[in-house]
């Protein structure tokens, strides 16, 4: 990295400063106008009444009675979700980071499958699995394990399952980012220094991977506080979360003040948690430059030392208990592989139960499906409402992806290639929409758009989706560009190519994969997005997810399974295509 930086030096520093600014300007301005400004102007509503006088009424409302208990409820659900998500994600990330070969790639694809699949589709899948006439209940009754179906759905349990399922892919990815940077030689070094696998894990691997765990927990917690799809489809009124409360206040009661006050509370809590995280580990630790030492370092060391000793003692005891058979080195991996496989199955399997149900002859989503009919596909393809929603979603997603690339790619170039003052705050600023709870961003955009007449327009949708999609584009492109050896460009320049020709013939072919991945990312983010659509595309001009959401509340017909099946097939096609592309890209 630093060698490349130094080589980049001789170019006129003035030009770099200027071009860095120009490349970043669009994204900074866009996010300011459509993210920061709306957010703050909405926050203002929480503290002023209709006449414009300062008031604490809304906060008084928010801190009392039902609202306060929903707030606490949200906190406790989010904590549980975070705990289970992190616990289940760690072995998967560990397995992915420490093994190589073809199976790793396959597992990664499977882990990412739910990430690409619509949150609504996944929620439907859990409704089908857990419902009274669902997969689990009918299987248990048929096998004679239980007499009557158990109540698996519409309780805390189903909400937790749905949310953990939804958030695990992100958690796995952020842990993986840290774990993949851990030098493989450290394992070898620890082994030669006398550490057994248990010690190596607890004293070396785990402490170094901890920042990844912490950032996964951070992202999981903050995202879960803004979630409403799972609690409202899979939960009972007792599991109501603040996002649902906010929607209710706006949709049914038009109580902007209270909705804004609750949003501020969630936002403040998020900020506090981020600050605590920063205090304990340093925000820098998200990027892998953590600090050791200090009190927390010491505490961590004694805990991990104890865990290491315990693990080694247990594995020695097991080895002693099996004196005849030699315990192979690979045994440790098997102990890990089995739970990993189960967790991966938990991630991937549920949605596929929707496929047979989409062909059912009955008019309920139930298991097992009865008979065979294509009526639900027919219902989908012949309904103008569904068709229009689908077309709108595709167009909005295409435009969103194009717009995100247009402002995101230049920013990624500026962030990886030039040096300027304030670079350290630009990236967190751009990534802010990822950690801000979606519901709050959507609400503030709704408020802002209603003042400038963008509510109900497709352009409003595109803008809202771009706010969410562009950080992913920047992240993906930074990842692509930072491994790109800039000396190749410099070589091309010295060989007589103009900067533009160099970009066309050298840079572009090499970063093509990054481009396509970013585009797909942005496309899927938009295509799947329901929060913004919920507020900004009211009435008939809806998107596909919004339509599915409305339908799900209305009547859970197998049409939803048919739509889901179509979406699942689409996702599999997209992933296969991008895998093929990646392989071709690497194969050169």
């Amino acid at each position: 990295m630093s060698a490349v930086d130094q080589l980049a030096r001789p170019v006129n520093p003035f030009r770099i400063k200027l071009s860095g600014g120009i490349l970043l300007l669009p994204i900074l301005a866009f996010l300011f106008i459509f993210f920061i400004y709306p957010l703050f102007s909405m926050l203002a509503i929480s503290a002023f009444d209709r006449s414009g006088a300062l008031t604490f009424d809304f906060y008084r409302q928010a801190l009392g009675g039902r609202t306060w208990s929903i707030f606490l409820n949200t906190l406790s659900i989010s904590l549980w979700v975070t705990l289970f998500t992190v616990l289940l994600s760690y072995p998967v990330a560990y397995y992915l980071a420490t093994s190589k070969g073809r199976s790793t790639n396959l597992i990664l694809i499977i882990v990412l499958l739910p990430f690409w699949t619509s949150a609504l589709v996944r929620a439907f899948a859990w409704m089908l699995l857990l419902g009274r006439n669902g997969v689990i209940n009918s299987t248990m009754v048929n096998l004679g394990i239980t007499e009557v179906p158990a109540d698996l759905l519409f309780n805390l349990f189903s909400v937790l399952i749905g949310m953990v399922h939804a958030l695990m892919p992100i958690a796995v990815l952020s842990m993986l980012a840290t774990m993949q940077n851990i030098d493989r030689n450290l394992h070898s070094a620890a082994a030669t220094l006398g550490a057994e696998p248990g010690d190596t894990f607890w004293r070396v691997f785990f402490p170094i991977s901890f920042p990844g765990v912490a950032s996964a927990a951070l992202v999981t917690f903050i995202v879960s506080m803004g979630i409403f799809v799972q609690p409202s489809l899979l939960g009972s009124p007792r599991e109501t979360m603040v996002a649902q409360l906010i929607i209710q206040q706006i949709d049914e009661l038009y109580n902007w003040g209270l909705a804004a006050a609750v949003s501020v509370m969630v936002l403040v809590l998020s900020v506090i948690i981020i600050l605590i995280f920063d205090k304990l580990l340093g925000i820098a630790s998200i990027s892998g430059t953590q600090q050791a030492g200090g009190a927390s370092g010491k505490a961590m060391r004694s805990i991990t030392a104890a865990l290491g000793t315990a693990t080694v003692a247990v594995s020695r005891a097991i080895r002693r208990a099996l004196p005849q058979r030699k315990v192979k080195e690979g045994a440790f991996r098997w102990v890990l592989a089995v739970p990993t496989l189960l967790i991966v199955l938990f991630l991937a399997a549920p949605t596929f139960f929707l496929v047979p149900v989409s062909f059912t002859g009955s008019s309920f989503m139930e298991w097992p499906p009865r008979g065979f009919s294509l009526q639900w596909y027919e219902a989908y393809f012949t309904s103008p409402v569904w068709r229009e929603a689908t077309v709108r979603s595709i167009i909005v997603a295409l435009v969103t992806a194009t717009a995100s690339l247009a402002i995101g790619v230049p920013a990624a170039f500026a962030l990886t290639r030039s040096k300027f003052k304030g670079k350290a705050i630009v990236l967190p600023y751009i990534l802010l929409p990822i950690v801000a709870p979606n519901i709050i961003v959507a609400l503030s955009l709704f408020y802002y758009f209603s003042s400038i007449g963008l509510v109900g327009t497709d352009i409003g949708l595109v803008i809202g989706h771009t706010v969410f999609a562009v950080p992913y584009v920047v992240l993906t492109m930074i990842a692509t560009l930072s491994i790109y050896d800039q000396r190749l460009d410099q070589a091309a320049w010295t060989l007589g190519a103009t900067p533009l020709t160099t970009f066309r013939l050298i840079t572009l072919p090499m970063i093509k994969v990054g481009f396509v991945t970013s585009f797909l990312f942005a496309f899927v983010r938009s295509f799947d997005e329901v929060t913004v659509a919920l507020f900004i595309s009211p009435g008939l001009s809806t998107t596909l997810p919004k339509r599915m959401w409305t339908e799900a509340h209305h009547s859970v017909e197998p049409t939803l399974a048919a739509v889901s099946t179509i979406l699942i097939i689409m996702v599999i096609l997209v992933i296969t295509a991008s895998e093929l592309l990646k392989r071709r890209g690497l194969g050169r």
Binding site: A191, L193, I208, A292, R301
Partner: protein
């Protein structure tokens, strides 16, 4: 350099006899189609400093990692202290490894890095403290004990790695290009430190490098490798003065190669004929040869001299000076022979060995006993 004294007794300077510490027996490693290490056998004496030398890709790391137990051999055996160790895990082999990029634990301080192997052995805190401090003293890093690895310079990190490897007293220390990442000056200094440490600890060292100078400076014996096999194993002097083939001669120290054909024999020598030039005498090739066979003769630059006259018993070729430079202690003469081969002769700079004029006609002279010849497969 005391070239002459070395020359008188090359055969008597073999390594002193030692008990065998490490024995590698027909060890082989196959990666798919590629044979990273051909079946190789090797013995390392107790307390010996043995260097694996060779170009990149010659199988040095592969061999070292199998000795460490970090790579499983395809076939063959490893014996340590007369006990078979082929299937032992690394932590049971009584070895220490210094990795090329040091592999220091980034989240642990210098002190904790050095303490790590002792904690793994569940020693009590007092012992750990004493030993860590002792080792940090030896590598002169006591003041840096609380720093993190990334707060140290490359040389300091290297010393931490050494201390961590030595603190538990492993009887074999393995090092894979430990000085590869350091600059020249630091490298020279660390070479001395590693040698001192080796003496102080009395450990057996298996050292990997691709730098012939480093290998010559540090080793009791050098094992020169190429394409996954051993080319020659011996003391630095043996490899330098009695290279088994052209590759060894070329790899260790610069050399001039004269091509010709064998025209006849004369006791210990052969007569070599060259196209359009006077014949000269060279030592008999070690391998079998026939009259008329192509031969290449190696002469070290310092054994060549440039003069106007002739003296009895020396080989002589006429040459033209193309360049002549005084570099300090040594003076380099670049000359061209009749067949356009360019040759470098190096002499001590003395009052009589003034630089020659460009274009000056001179006689290139050297002793037949300094001429080593290779035939047949030794030429590759």
């Amino acid at each position: 350099m005391a070239v002459d004294t070395l020359l008188e007794t090359p055969r008597t300077r073999a390594a002193p006899l030692r008990a065998t510490k490490l024995r590698v027996n027909n060890l082989k490693k196959q990666y798919g189609q590629l044979q990273a290490l051909r079946p190789t056998s090797l013995e390392v004496g107790n307390g010996e400093f043995l260097t694996l030398l060779g170009p990149s890709g010659s199988g040095k790391t592969t061999l070292l990692m199998m000795v460490a137990g970090l790579t499983a051999p395809t076939s063959g055996e490893i014996w340590i202290d007369g006990r078979i160790a082929t299937d032992l895990p690394p932590q049971k082999r009584d070895i220490g490894v210094v990795f090329q990029n040091y592999a220091l634990f980034p989240h642990l301080s210098v002190y904790e890095n050095v303490a790590f192997p002792l904690r793994m052995r569940r020693l009590d805190n007092a012992t750990i403290d004493r030993e860590v401090k002792r080792l940090l003293d030896i590598v002169e890093l006591s003041k840096m004990a609380d720093r993190l690895p990334r707060e140290l310079s490359g040389g300091q990190q290297q010393r931490v790695a050494l201390a961590r490897c030595a603190v538990y007293g492993p009887s074999i220390i393995l090092m894979d290009e430990p000085l590869g990442a350091l600059d020249k000056k630091l490298r020279d200094q660390m070479q001395m430190e590693i040698r001192h440490l080796h003496k102080r600890l009395g450990a057996t060292v298996l050292y990997v490098t691709h730098d012939q100078g480093e290998a010559m400076t540090m080793s009791d014996r050098i094992c020169l490798m190429r394409d996954g096999g051993i080319e020659q194993l011996g003391t630095p002097a043996e490899l330098y003065h009695q290279p088994r083939n052209r590759f060894v001669a070329d790899f260790l120290g610069g050399a001039t190669f004269l091509k010709g054909t064998i025209a006849g024999e004369d006791e210990d020598f052969v007569i070599v004929e060259q196209h359009g030039q006077a014949p000269f005498k060279a030592l008999r090739p070690v391998s079998k040869f026939t009259k008329g066979e192509a031969v290449q003769c190696m002469i070290r630059p310092q054994n060549l001299s440039v003069s106007r006259g002739q003296s009895a018993g020396l080989n002589v070729l006429s040459a033209t000076v193309t360049d002549s430079v005084m570099t300090g202690t040594m003076t380099e003469h670049h000359v061209r022979l009749a067949d356009a081969t360019t040759v470098v002769a190096v002499e001590f700079t003395t009052a009589s060995s003034l630089p020659r004029q460009k274009g000056e006609s001179v006689q290139l002279t050297w002793r037949p006993a300094d001429t080593i010849s290779f035939v047949g497969s030794d030429l590759k």
